[in-house]
């Protein structure tokens, strides 16, 4: 570092403040370059002082309209965005889900009296066994949508007790009916002959006269079975023969 460089900071300070130390003064007396630099820096300080002058034209600090962070436009914008988002999601969900069943469907115009019956239905106590309206029944809703028929007005039941289960119907056996029939004066009464279609079909294979004739129990199934021939004769002929023999025996006894 040369001696002039050593006084560089001191030169600036001397130009700025005007304070010159004795050591600095001795150097200035011996160094014309530093004297010239000091004069130059003093001129610069004059220039800086000129630059320090506040310009007359200073823009007014009109900050409020430019910079005030007004909250409500942002809040309003955010609210609109949120509302639109909610509406969009809701619309999407509604379109995605099946249409709910209308609880009170429009009544057909051809039945204007039905609204008069409605109060009667309302007055009735709630029937526990009435099927509730199922809202999420896709098949039923599809049917409704396709046919577009109104739902029938449910008729309330008078009885609250559940219906008894139907008893099992015994299988009708015409053979058993013929066997169980009691002969009157050696003949089966006509009303003892089963009148059901099945029984008539079975009996129709026999001549009416013989059908009215009591037949041995063991012979009846065979008589009714046409696919059981014996001795090359038809079942009808055999049955007639046997019936005649038995009747003769009965008459004899």
């Amino acid at each position: 570092m040369t001696s002039c460089e050593r006084y560089e900071e001191a030169l600036w300070e001397a130009a700025e403040t005007g304070n010159i130390s004795a050591d600095m003064q001795r150097h200035l007396d011996a160094c014309p370059a530093c004297r010239e630099s000091l004069a130059s820096l003093r001129g610069a300080m004059t220039g800086f002082a000129e630059l320090r002058q506040i310009p007359d034209h200073v823009p007014a600090p009109a900050l409020v309209p430019l910079s005030a962070p007004c909250w409500w436009p942002r809040a309003a914008f955010a609210g609109v965005v949120v509302a639109l988002a909610i509406a969009g999601v809701s619309l999407w969900l509604v379109r995605k889900q099946p249409e709910p069943v209308v609880k009170t469907p429009p009544r057909p115009s051809v039945q204007p009296e039905q609204p008069k019956q409605a109060p009667v239905i309302v007055e009735k106590p709630k029937a526990p066994e009435m099927p509730p309206i199922v809202q999420n029944a896709p098949a039923q809703q599809k049917r409704h949508r396709k046919v577009r028929l109104p739902e029938p007005v449910p008729v309330p039941r008078e009885e609250t007790a559940p219906e008894p289960l139907p008893l099992p119907v015994p299988e009708y056996d015409p053979v058993e009916a013929l066997i169980s029939a009691q002969p009157v004066n050696g003949l089966l009464p006509l009303d003892a002959v089963p009148l059901s279609a099945q029984a008539l079909t079975a009996v129709s294979d026999l001549p009416l006269a013989y059908a009215l004739t009591p037949v041995a129990r063991e012979d009846i199934p065979r008589l009714l079975d046409p696919a059981a021939p014996a001795d090359g004769r038809s079942s009808s002929e055999e049955a007639i023969e046997k019936a005649s023999l038995r009747q003769a025996a009965d008459n004899a006894s």
Binding site: W12, S40, A44, G47, E50, Q53, V58, P59, P61, L63
Partner: protein, 185 residues
């Protein structure tokens, strides 16, 4: 930066507190005190009156938005200088290719006699030309030190450097300035 009186400091603290609470009028009152200095800094840094006004507005906007970050560790003016310095440096970088103007002499109304005014204006012109020839960081250091008259500590806060680092860089800026200033004889 000149420190105000205790009353002025108390008033400034009250204004800051109210401005922080969202009182725009308090912020306006605060800025009315600092706007001329910020504008001057921008004018010396940018060399253009319109750009200086825009820089002032941008500085005020940023200050208002980030007022909650002002912790009171430094003076409010120093904090404003930090913002203004960044604004000016950014604008200076963006306007590097544009030719610089000499605005200050057009903006002054002088009551001095013509000769003295002319000498002062010439000195100011010369300094401004030398400043304009400096890189923006060096120019900012010189403006902060010799136009805004900030101390080394305040410059270090504004620039975000240590005091020693600030001194070293300022010395380099002084050398560069002197070189350009003496060339412009």
């Amino acid at each position: 930066m000149a420190t105000g009186t205790v009353v002025a400091e108390q008033r400034e603290r009250q204004l800051i507190a109210r401005a922080r609470a969202g009182n725009a009028a308090a912020f306006d009152a605060l800025m009315a005190e600092y706007a001329p200095r910020i504008h001057r800094l921008a004018l010396r840094m940018l060399g253009d009156a319109e750009e200086a006004e825009e820089a002032l507005q941008e500085t005020m906007i940023r200050a208002f938005r980030h007022l909650g970050r002002f912790r009171g560790d430094a003076a409010f003016g120093t904090w404003l200088y930090v913002i203004a310095a960044r604004v000016c440096l950014t604008r200076r970088q963006a306007a590097k290719s544009r030719p610089e103007q000499m605005p200050y002499d057009e903006l002054r109304i002088s009551t001095e006699d013509a000769a003295a005014q002319m000498l002062r204006r010439e000195a100011g012109d010369r300094v401004q030309r030398a400043l304009n020839a400096l890189p923006p960081p060096d120019r900012l250091l010189m403006v902060l030190r010799f136009v805004e008259e900030l101390s080394h500590e305040e410059i270090a806060r504004v620039m975000g450097w240590s005091v020693e680092n600030s001194r070293t860089r300022l010395l380099r800026a002084k050398r560069a300035f002197r070189e350009r200033y003496e060339k412009d004889m």
